[in-house]
C-alpha cells in the first residue's frame, strides 16, 4: 500500500512538473507606474468575460510599454490579482495589491458583486480605482465616491437599450404595438442581474409592454427547469435575460429540451457575449440571439472615429490572435474592447494629464485629471466619448457619455444593431430564424 501511494504521488508530482511553465517576473524600472489588474482568472466568471477583459487590459499595457510607457517615459508595471469569482477573494486581492504590492492604481473588476463592496472600501482608503467592466448602477450610485471612476456604461443603459431596441422594431417585425408585446425578464440575483432587470422592467413599462414574468435565480443553481416551465406558461414574445455562466448554458439547454419557444431572445453581456464559446456549446442554434454590451471596437464603423483611433482597434485585433488564434474577428467578445479601450483611456488621457498638470500619479492627482477628462464621441475605440459625472452628482465617477449597444448574431457573427449611431446593420432580422430550436412557430 505504501509503495503504491509513493508511486501515485510521484506520478502526480511529475505531471505537474511537466505541464507547469515558468512565468517571467515583472521588470520594475526607475520611472514606473504600478497598476494592479484585478480580474477573475479562475472560477466561472473567468470564461464569462473576465479573462477577455484582462487580455484586453494586458494588451494595451504591453502596447504602451513597447512605445516607452506613458508619455514615452513612464513604464507600466502590471501586477495581477485573481478575484477567483468570489467577492471575499476580490476584496482580499484588492487589499494585497493596494497595501502589499503598493500599486498606484487599482484597475479592472469584472463582477458587480465584487465592485459594489470594493468601490466603497477602496474609496475610503483614498486609493484610485478605475473600473473597466462591472456595470451595476449600485457601484457608484448615491455614494459620491471621490477616487472611483468608471468609463464603462452603467447597467441602467443596458436594460433601457435592449427594451428600446425591441420597441423600435416591434411594429415591423412582431406586427404588434408595443403595448401588446409580452415581455419576460429573467436574471441572476446579484447586483448585476437585478440592476439590469430593474431597468428592463422600468423601460418596458414606459414603452407600455406587458411584463408577463420577472424572475431571478442563482447563477450557481443546478437546475432551472422550473423557470423554463414558467416561461412557457407565460408565452413571451421576447425574453430579456441577464446571466453569467454556467447559468446561461444551463438555461439554454433546458429551454431547448423543454420546448420553450419565443420570438426574440435578448441577453445582456457576460456569457451571452462570448459568442465563440456559445457556438462551441450550441453551434448554429445561437443564430438570431442578441447580447447587450458596450460596443465592440472591431464592429465600429471607422468613419465614425477620430483619426488614429481605428489603428488602435486593429492593433487590438492583431494582438488578440496570440490568445485566440482561431476566433474570427466578428466573434471577438466585446470584453476584449472593455479591457483594451477603457485602460487606454486611463493610460492615454488621465495619466498624462495627472503627471503634467497635477504633479504626479497619486490618487488626488489622478482623480483631478479624471474629472477633467473630456473626450468627444468617436474619440475612443468603442465609439463613445468620456466625461465623468462630477463629485456630488448621484452617479459621481460614472462616464456620462458611455453607451450600451445591442448586438445580434447574424450569419454566425456579431453585428451591432442598436442604437443607430453604432449600428453596423441597419435592417437586422431581430426575430429568431425559423430554423432556430428556440423560435416560436
Amino acid at each position: 500500500m505504501k509503495s503504491l501511494r509513493v508511486l501515485l504521488a510521484l506520478v502526480l508530482v511529475g505531471a505537474v512538473a511537466v505541464t507547469a511553465a515558468p512565468r517571467p517576473a515583472a521588470d520594475a524600472q526607475s520611472q514606473t507606474i504600478k497598476i494592479g489588474l484585478l480580474y477573475d482568472h479562475s472560477g466561472p466568471f473567468s470564461a464569462a468575460g473576465s479573462l477577455n477583459c484582462w487580455r484586453g487590459a494586458k494588451m494595451i499595457i504591453d502596447y504602451v510599454n513597447e512605445r516607452g510607457g506613458v508619455m514615452g517615459k513612464y513604464k507600466i508595471v502590471q501586477v495581477d490579482g485573481d478575484s477567483q469569482s468570489k467577492t471575499e477573494a476580490a476584496i482580499n486581492e484588492a487589499e494585497r495589491l493596494l497595501n502589499v504590492e503598493k500599486v498606484d492604481i487599482l484597475a479592472g473588476i469584472y463582477s458587480s458583486a465584487h465592485a459594489v463592496p470594493l468601490a466603497e472600501k477602496v474609496d475610503r482608503q483614498k486609493k484610485f480605482l478605475w473600473i473597466t467592466t462591472a456595470i451595476a448602477d449600485a457601484v457608484v450610485k448615491d455614494r459620491n465616491l471621490q477616487f472611483t471612476f468608471r468609463p464603462q456604461p452603467n447597467g441602467s443603459l443596458f436594460g433601457e437599450a435592449s427594451v428600446q431596441y425591441v420597441a423600435h422594431y416591434a411594429k415591423d417585425r412582431l406586427r404588434k404595438a408595443a403595448k401588446d408585446i409580452r415581455a419576460a425578464i429573467i436574471y441572476e440575483d446579484g447586483p448585476y442581474g437585478t440592476g439590469v432587470a430593474a431597468s428592463n422592467e422600468a423601460e418596458a413599462r414606459k414603452q407600455g409592454m406587458q411584463v408577463v414574468l420577472k424572475e431571478g435565480f442563482s447563477a450557481q443553481a443546478p437546475d432551472l427547469s422550473s423557470l423554463v416551465t414558467k416561461l412557457r406558461a407565460s408565452r413571451p414574445d421576447v425574453i430579456f435575460h441577464t446571466g453569467y455562466n454556467p447559468d446561461i448554458a444551463l438555461f439554454l439547454r433546458q429551454a431547448k429540451e423543454q420546448g420553450l419557444r419565443t420570438r426574440i431572445y435578448v441577453g445582456h453581456g457576460a456569457g451571452h457575449s462570448q459568442l465563440a464559446k456559445l457556438k462551441e456549446a450550441f453551434g448554429n442554434e445561437v443564430e438570431g440571439f442578441h447580447t447587450t454590451d458596450p460596443p465592440a471596437s472591431q464592429l465600429i464603423d471607422p468613419k465614425r472615429l477620430k483619426p488614429g483611433v481605428w489603428d488602435l482597434t486593429q492593433e487590438m485585433v492583431k494582438r488578440y490572435k496570440a490568445f485566440e488564434p482561431t476566433i474570427p474577428v466578428g466573434q471577438i467578445a466585446p470584453h476584449v474592447s472593455m479591457g483594451f479601450n477603457n485602460m487606454w483611456i486611463l493610460l492615454n488621457d488621465v495619466l498624462p494629464r495627472a503627471i503634467q498638470q497635477h504633479g504626479g500619479f497619486g490618487p488626488e492627482a489622478l482623480a483631478k485629471a479624471a474629472r477633467e477628462t473630456d473626450i468627444p464621441e468617436g474619440g475612443t475605440m468603442q465609439g463613445y466619448g468620456v466625461k465623468f459625472q462630477p463629485a456630488g452628482h448621484p452617479m459621481a465617477g460614472q462616464n456620462m457619455r458611455a453607451i450600451a449597444a445591442v448586438f445580434q448574431v447574424v450569419d454566425g457573427e456579431f453585428k451591432h444593431v442598436y442604437p443607430p449611431v453604432v449600428a453596423s446593420l441597419s435592417n437586422p432580422p431581430v426575430l429568431l430564424p425559423a430554423s432556430s430550436p428556440f423560435a416560436f412557430r
Partner: protein
C-alpha cells in the same frame, strides 16, 4: 394560478432531477458509511470524469456510451487514488483534520483542472429529441439519466446484498472493529468501497455530461446540495439519501413553479435546517 399541466411537468422534472441527485448522494454516502470520512471533494471527482467524457467524445470521437463506460473506469481509478493518497494516511486522525484534508483536495482539483484545461465551459453536443406528451415536455437527456441512475442503484443494492465483498462492505459499515477482530481485512474493503464510490461518480459524470457543460467549478453547483441530501438522509444511510434526493428535487421543482425559482431553493434549504433540529440523524432515524 398555475396550469395543472405545468405543475405536472414540474413534478416530472423534479423526479428526473432526483434520480441524478440520488446517484451522487449514494456514492458519497456509501463511502461515508464504510470509511466514516466525508469526501467533500466527491463532486470534483465527478468533474474530472466529465472532462474524460468530453475529451473522449468531442476530441477522440468515441460514442457516448463507450465514453460513459470509460468514465466509470476513470471514476473508479480516481476513487482508489484518493483513498490511497489522501484518505488512508488520515484514517486515524481527528474528524476535523479529515474534513480539512478532503476540503484541501477540493481546492487542489479545481485549481488543477483550471491549470490543465482553463476555465472554459465545455459541452458534449448530442442531437437528442424533444419529448412531448399531452403538452408536458420532458428532457430526453434527463429521462435517460434517470433510468440509468435507477438501474445503477439497483445494481449497487444487488452488489451490496448478493456478493461476498458487498456483504463485507455492509459489515464494516455496521461495525468496523468487530470485522477486524473476525479476521477480515478492512483495508481491502475500504479500497473496494472507494473504487465503487468512484465508479458511481464516473457514472454520474457520464449522465451529467449530456445535461451540463463541464468546467473546473462544476462542483460548486452540485457539491453543496449533494452533501445536504446525505445529511438529510442520514450520513451513511443509503435509503435515507435516496428518499432525501427526491424530497429536495421535488421541492426545488414544484416550489420553483408555484412561487419562484429562488423560493424553491429557499424552501428546500429551510426544510433542511428544520430537519436538522427535528431529525439531526436523518429523516429515517427515530427521534431519541
Amino acid at each position: 394560478m398555475i396550469d395543472p399541466i405545468f405543475l405536472a411537468e414540474a413534478a416530472i422534472n423534479g423526479l428526473l432531477l432526483g434520480g441524478v441527485l440520488a446517484l451522487l448522494a449514494l456514492g458519497l454516502n456509501l463511502i461515508f458509511g464504510v470509511i466514516d470520512i466525508v469526501w467533500i471533494a466527491y463532486v470534483d471527482l465527478v468533474m474530472l470524469a466529465m472532462y474524460a467524457v468530453y475529451f473522449l467524445v468531442m476530441v477522440y470521437g468515441w460514442p457516448i456510451w463507450l465514453a460513459g463506460l470509460a468514465a466509470i473506469g476513470v471514476g473508479a481509478l480516481l476513487g482508489i487514488g484518493v483513498h490511497v493518497l489522501i484518505i488512508s494516511p488520515i484514517l486515524g486522525s481527528a474528524p476535523v483534520n479529515q474534513l480539512l484534508a478532503t476540503g484541501g483536495l477540493l481546492f487542489f482539483l479545481q485549481s488543477f483542472a483550471t491549470f490543465l484545461w482553463t476555465t472554459d465551459h465545455r459541452s458534449v453536443r448530442l442531437a437528442l429529441p424533444v419529448l412531448e406528451v399531452a403538452g408536458i415536455f420532458v428532457s430526453f437527456a434527463r429521462l435517460i439519466a434517470f433510468v440509468i441512475a435507477i438501474l445503477a442503484m439497483i445494481g449497487l443494492y444487488l452488489f451490496l446484498t448478493r456478493t461476498y465483498i458487498g456483504t463485507a462492505i455492509r459489515a464494516v459499515a455496521q461495525d468496523r472493529e468487530a470485522m477486524a477482530l473476525m479476521g477480515a481485512d478492512p483495508r481491502r474493503v475500504y479500497l473496494v468501497t472507494s473504487a465503487v464510490g468512484g465508479a458511481m461518480a464516473g457514472l454520474a459524470a457520464a449522465l451529467l455530461s449530456i445535461q451540463y457543460s463541464v468546467h473546473p467549478y462544476f462542483g460548486a453547483a452540485f457539491g453543496p446540495i449533494t452533501f445536504m441530501i446525505c445529511v438529510l438522509g442520514g450520513l451513511g444511510n443509503m435509503v435515507g439519501a435516496f428518499v432525501a434526493s427526491f424530497i429536495m428535487s421535488e421541492i426545488i421543482s414544484i416550489g420553483g413553479v408555484t412561487w419562484s425559482t429562488e423560493m424553491g431553493y429557499v424552501i428546500a434549504f429551510a426544510l433542511f435546517i428544520v430537519m436538522m433540529f427535528v431529525r439531526p440523524g436523518g429523516i429515517l432515524t427515530k427521534r431519541e
